[in-house]
Symmetry: C2
Subunit: 142 residues, 2 copies
DNA sequence: TACCTAACTGAAAACAAGTTTCATTTATAA
DNA sequence: TTATAAATGAAACTTGTTTTCAGTTAGGTA
């Protein structure tokens, strides 16, 4: 389940963070977009609701939400974007055209991981798995 | 098979690129290190052999080698590094401590990819898979 | 309800990785 | 040897992100 704006707000409170108008605005944008948005794009949207907000605040809010595990990062080219974090281990399928993101949870990499670990002697701590392609809407164009 | 310095040099020639002392120096460093090196780190090493080389040239040479498929990029944190490219499709196991890289080729993601494609309607073009952990030598410390 | 203070904010400056520009140099084909 | 397209290095620039710092504010307390 993806967390709601209310849920996120209450987590902030619980952790002793203040709930400012700026943070509310950022949270709303993140909650209401299925895309993974880069900080700059997010900033643009947030400004519609809160024109005076600074880009720095957007960065700081995203950083905080990320640390609390409420949103997560996606890699797309050099920069990265953020989306709501569904609970638990999961991966992304990113549209390289429009940035929309689909989640999936079952990656079945445990077997591969274990074998690699034995073969190489590495102590594997995690993995990075992401599919890249074109979403339904972006397949026609370009 | 990982290509040798000679092999790489001859590919450059074939493609009409000039074989300068700087390029030779960059190629040597890449060939002689099992680590994935960030451009800046590579630059440091290259300077031992060729003190007058510029960072720009390192970037340009890496870019060229990458385009020719002779080396490949690895993600590590925000920046990226380069290692020799073994031929064909492959992935990396990266030590987050020292940056050493192990390759592996069999990722068995076709099944997963096909299922995701059906479920989401995405036309999947590629994937990003990388394991992160500690290599044998780095497991003790820290 | 007013007040207090740590937390938060925004502007500007700083930073890091990478790229572009441009005048100079050089590998290599003729 | 020479001509020239390709390559180089310094410096300036770009882009994404972080730091600094003086001023503002959320929200607990009197």
């Amino acid at each position: 389940m993806r967390p709601s704006a209310k849920k996120i707000a209450s987590v902030l409170r619980q952790k002793g963070h203040k709930l400012t108008a700026q943070r509310r605005a950022v949270i709303n944008v993140v909650v209401n977009s299925g895309e993974h948005l880069a900080p700059a794009a997010l900033y643009e949207r947030v400004r519609r609701a809160h024109p005076a907000i600074g880009l720095v605040t957007v960065y700081r809010t995203l950083e905080m939400l990320h640390e609390l595990g409420l949103i997560c990062r996606v890699h797309r080219g050099e920069k990265h974007g953020y989306t709501l974090a569904p609970s638990g281990h999961h991966h992304h399928l990113v549209c390289t055209e429009c940035g929309i993101v689909a989640d999936f949870t079952d990656c079945d990499l445990e077997v591969l991981q274990q074998r690699l670990s034995q073969q190489t002697g590495f102590k594997i701590e995690g993995h990075l798995l992401q599919f890249l392609g074109y979403c339904r809407d972006c397949q026609g164009g370009t």
